[in-house]
Symmetry: C2
């Protein structure tokens, strides 16, 4: 193979790009190191010059994805013009807007990453994202608690639970996607929205807000996300 030299930053970014594309297309286990280096156009040796193992590549990728995602969401959590409840609502509506914008791509990715045989991939990304998100959410909860908006005995523990509970959407989304693909868009959209609504109520209750304060679903989100044209 022709020898091409690039700066380490470019190379490792390219490796991560390729890995991300392949992992999101076929899953982690079904993507071989050889697949990755073929697409990235370099050798085995070069690959292992950058990453100690396939596993290490996954971790680096998870960290990058987590960092990028949270950079998009962080401003909503810190918006100084809003109170704590407003920030939470902004977070939900904002992430829904993002989801709809990127719906065609996201749907494909979710369909792969949420498959049971890809737990490892999913879990690594979630773990990385969680680590970054936990202090942010905890700070928001503490702030809201001090402002008297919430009633949260232990911001970190509650942030932890809030982040944990959202993971029901791995399964819910997976089922909705399969159902939508099977033709029943109405039913799928309804399942998704209903679960989001209930999730919103759960958040309300955990924070001792009146049911319905947190708006975890925009009306029509289910159809907008599941039915968005590619």
């Amino acid at each position: 193979m022709a020898r091409v030299i690039k700066s380490p930053e470019v190379r490792s970014a390219e490796l991560l790009d390729c890995a991300q594309r392949l992992f999101f297309q076929r899953g982690y286990d079904d993507t071989t190191v050889n697949d990755i280096i073929r697409e990235a156009g370099l050798s085995k040796g070069a690959f292992y010059h950058y990453f100690a193992s396939k596993e290490a590549l996954l971790e680096a990728l998870a960290a990058r994805i987590a960092r990028e995602s949270l950079t998009e969401l962080e401003p909503m959590l810190e918006d100084p013009s809003l109170d704590a409840v407003g920030r939470l609502n902004t977070l939900f509506s904002g992430s829904q807007r993002l989801n709809v914008e990127l719906a065609p791509q996201l749907r494909k990715t979710f369909a792969v990453v949420f498959r049971p045989e890809n737990v490892v991939l999913f879990h690594r990304i979630d773990e990385a994202a969680r680590e970054l998100a936990l202090p942010m959410i905890a700070r928001l909860l503490r702030k809201g608690s001090e402002e008297g908006a919430f009633e949260v005995p232990d911001p970190i523990a509650f942030a932890d639970m809030l982040l944990q509970i959202r993971l029901i959407f791995r399964d819910v989304m997976h089922r909705a996607l399969r159902q939508a693909e099977g033709g029943d868009l109405e039913e799928a959209a309804h399942l998704l929205e209903e679960r989001l609504r209930i999730y919103g109520i759960a958040v309300d209750r955990l924070l001792k807000l009146p049911d319905g304060t947190i708006e975890a679903v925009e009306p029509g989100f289910g159809r907008a996300f599941l039915g968005a044209q590619s």
Copy 2:
């Protein structure tokens, strides 16, 4: 090797026993099929006569573990002498009693299964347990709702969230175990109990019970579990 013939039930049970012991000792990935058949004392051919793949073995094992665990817990969820709140409290105290009884063995198992590189193992077992537990919990919630004890808009969705939220203890327990092993039993026990207390409050709030109604920790559980002699 000497040819030994056993009934299929015995054989597959033995295979599952070995697999469980090895998976819980070294994890799933680090246990090879050859390890399993060596311990179980049979050949590759026999192994693949009983299980289509290593993966299939894992699923069967997860199903068995889930079935056994839930058989122990089910009576508490159905106890006709108690109301809904009482049943939930029995469930928590009962599973804590079980944990303390089996503490030495459980600690070893948890220390392995909760390790990040063993997510697959953990997740398969949890998935199987969840599938069995979901309808039971949902029924309890519906019953409690009808009795006026809880206020639960969607028993299935709430049961789902309740089951999801408990998974924070994968990480919490893992950390507590490591800390206790590192010598700081007091701190570890405190972390564990505090998190269980907060978890109880979370359950209260989700079900619209007054904070403190659900008793998710028995006092002294942390020390009893983490410090129980082998």
